[in-house]
């Protein structure tokens, strides 16, 4: 009747089936009007002609997508080849975002787990402890991080001081600095969902497993992890997606020598390029990629639910 209790909690039920439409209505209306319609307007823009230095002219054109996918040389009149430039930029952003997500997971999961296993009274305090730094503006924190990672900065001073290295290691303006910056920007987005998930976990299940002489790690792997998977997935999404579109950390910590997707698009709307349809087209490509990834996840989850029931 309850279904799936042994797996630590059912993934989906239909207790409120009747009220479902009413419950979803606020979200649908609000997001439909203030997000979906603007995004559709953007889609339309990607098929318009660009107005010089910003804006659009209401004439249909596929020039934006053409510029994205095809390389026609410096002057736009050579035979079309595949345009690798933007694919490179996208790939770089994806890779950075993935690295940042893994880093966040490696540090965020144990942290969330630790907090969730503290005595109940102490937990809110720990959660606040994690979120307090985010009250300070991101730009300031990133600049401070830049200061710390510099060749002459505190981090290198400490490492040299304790004798680990002899010459300062150059972290700033490298890819690693960017990943560190992204990880730093979005860490609570990994910790909080996992915390919420683990906190709900029924630890008596683990005790039952312990009674059966299962070791800690086996318990962790076989019982706990599947149960907190929703939280982990939520955390990964919340870190990965914004990291892909981010440009603050890459610019300040990576030296801005390479475009990320975010800086590429920003340049179209705020830079000299002023090519709005192209910015819209690049955004549409980004959006489609993310949608596909999410749909794959959603389908996997649906499959997992089917297996459980």
């Amino acid at each position: 009747m309850a279904g799936g209790a042994a797996s630590g909690g059912s993934a989906s039920t239909d207790t409120y089936k009747e009220a479902r439409n009413w419950l979803l209505l606020p979200a649908w209306v609000y997001l439909g009007v203030f997000v979906l319609i603007p995004v559709i307007m953007m889609l339309v823009y990607s098929f318009l002609t660009k107005e010089f230095r910003g804006g659009v002219v209401w004439e249909f054109s596929t020039a934006a997508y053409d510029q994205f996918f095809f390389d026609r040389g410096l002057f736009g009149d050579e035979p079309a080849k595949i345009e690798w430039t933007y694919i490179t930029i996208f790939w770089r952003s994806i890779w950075q975002a993935a690295a940042a997500t893994l880093l966040a997971l490696a540090i965020g999961f144990p942290t969330a787990y630790f907090i969730a296993t503290r005595p109940e009274r102490a937990r809110p305090m720990w959660v606040f402890l994690i979120t307090i730094p985010y009250w300070v503006n991101l730009l300031i924190r990133t600049v401070s991080m830049k200061f710390m990672l510099r060749d002459t900065g505190p981090l290198n001073d400490v490492l040299i001081g304790i004798g680990l290295i002899n010459d300062p290691i150059s972290i700033i303006n490298t890819n690693f600095a960017v990943q560190l910056g992204l990880f730093y920007s979005y860490l609570p987005f990994m910790v909080l969902p996992i915390y919420a998930s683990v906190e709900r976990y029924n630890f008596s299940l683990s005790e039952a497993a312990a009674d059966l002489y299962a070791s800690k790690w086996v318990t962790l792997r076989r019982i706990l992890l599947p149960a907190v998977k929703p939280g982990v997935i939520a955390g990964c999404i919340l870190v990965f997606v914004p990291s892909m579109g981010s440009f603050l950390a890459p610019d300040l910590l990576g030296g801005a020598k390479n475009f990320m997707i975010g800086s590429l698009i920003e340049e179209q709307f705020k830079g000299n390029a002023g090519n709005w349809p192209f910015g819209a087209a690049a955004s549409m490509v980004l959006l489609s990629m993310v949608l596909i990834i999410l749909m794959i996840f959603a389908r996997q989850q649906a499959k997992a639910e089917k297996e459980v029931s």
Binding site: F147, G255, A256, K257, N258
Partner: protein
């Protein structure tokens, strides 16, 4: 009785007129953040009774994007840079100032009264101007720095330690000066050479940073970097042993201007605001605060002593010409965009 009636009507009329005048007394200014001292704003309100409502942007391009996406009609004036004035004028975003509407127009310095980006000053008045070049840390390099080779073909000591501004306009203009080709040239060979030169120069660069252009010089992350004159002076004040360069090939001049926007809701007050800034006393107060240079005549004797003797304000003999960044035509701009993307991909 009649006298009482007459005087009360007169009083009422006076009050009505006065309150009406105060009611529409505001001017909406779209400005850079912290580019105008509060004392000057207060002085304007005290002098004219007009309230100043200020909104801010952080780059010329952001301002343009915002106005294009529907900001027209909400602001009276904004403060774009030189090339942006030209762009806005061609896009029909600026209102024309008729002859005689600006009482103090004559105070504009002769050299800035007829600039290439706004002939005859039909839409704008000068706000502040300065130069953009680069500064070199004298502790790292002691040779001749008045040459754009420092940026594009650097000596060994500076390789890997150069910061350039993260701005297409400035970098391309400097590159054009370095190669001796006209800005916004449409000659294909010149453009190809420009592309190649930039790509090879990039290997000596450590970063593209505009916001922290001063910080990287002070902290030593960069030993040379493109920088605005004002920031170079500030870097030196913070302890960096930097010297500002005036390359023989030329360098960039910039000028921020107050423009009258089309469909300004408070056009009268906007003109009064512009007039106010052209009074030498006010211009001097502004300049002493921002530490750049003014385009108004008669300001020099009112400036702080330290400001007058700044090395950044005094190019040496034999220095190249200071040129404004030019806004390119659509076809050339497309090529420039491609070159910039190539540079940053």
């Amino acid at each position: 009785m009649t006298n009482l009636l007459k005087s009360s009507v007169a009083a009422l009329a006076l009050v009505t007129v006065a309150s009406a005048a105060a009611a529409d007394g505001k001017v909406v200014v779209y400005h850079w953040f912290e580019y105008m001292p509060q004392e000057l704003v207060d002085k304007f309100t005290a002098d004219t009774g007009i309230e100043v409502v200020m909104d801010t942007y952080d780059s010329n391009e952001a301002m343009l994007a915002s106005l294009k996406a529907g900001g027209m009609g909400t602001y009276d004036v904004s403060v774009p840079g030189d090339y942006m004035v030209k762009i806005m004028a061609s896009a029909g975003m600026l209102d024309t100032i008729a002859e005689g509407e600006l009482a103090n127009k004559g105070s504009i310095s002769a050299e800035w009264a007829d600039p290439s980006f706004d002939p005859g000053r039909q839409h704008s008045v000068p706000y502040q101007w300065g130069s953009t070049s680069f500064a070199v840390n004298r502790d790292v390099f002691v040779g001749d720095i008045n040459n754009t080779d420092i940026l594009f073909n650097p000596p060994a000591e500076l390789q890997g330690k150069i910061n350039v501004l993260d701005s297409q306009g400035e970098v391309m203009a400097m590159a054009a000066l370095h190669m001796g080709i006209p800005q916004c040239t449409s000659d294909r060979d010149q453009l190809k050479a420009l592309n190649a030169m930039l790509l090879s120069a990039k290997e000596s660069w450590v970063s593209f940073n505009s916001d922290t252009a001063k910080e990287v010089l002070v902290s030593g992350d960069a030993a040379a970097g493109m920088i605005y004159d004002g920031f170079s002076a500030k870097a030196r004040a913070e302890g960096a042993n930097v010297e500002y360069a005036f390359p023989t090939q030329g360098y960039i001049a910039w000028m921020d201007n107050v423009v009258l926007l089309k469909d300004a809701p408070n056009r009268e007050n906007a003109l009064k605001f512009m007039d106010f800034l052209l009074v030498p006393e006010n211009a001097a107060q502004l300049t002493n605060w921002t530490q750049y240079a003014s385009g108004v005549e008669g300001v020099a004797p009112l400036l702080d002593e330290a400001l007058r003797t700044l090395p950044e304000a005094n190019p040496q003999n034999g220095a190249g010409q200071a040129v404004f960044i030019e806004a390119c035509s659509e076809e050339v701009q497309a090529v420039y965009d491609t070159i910039w993307t190539n540079l940053k991909k």
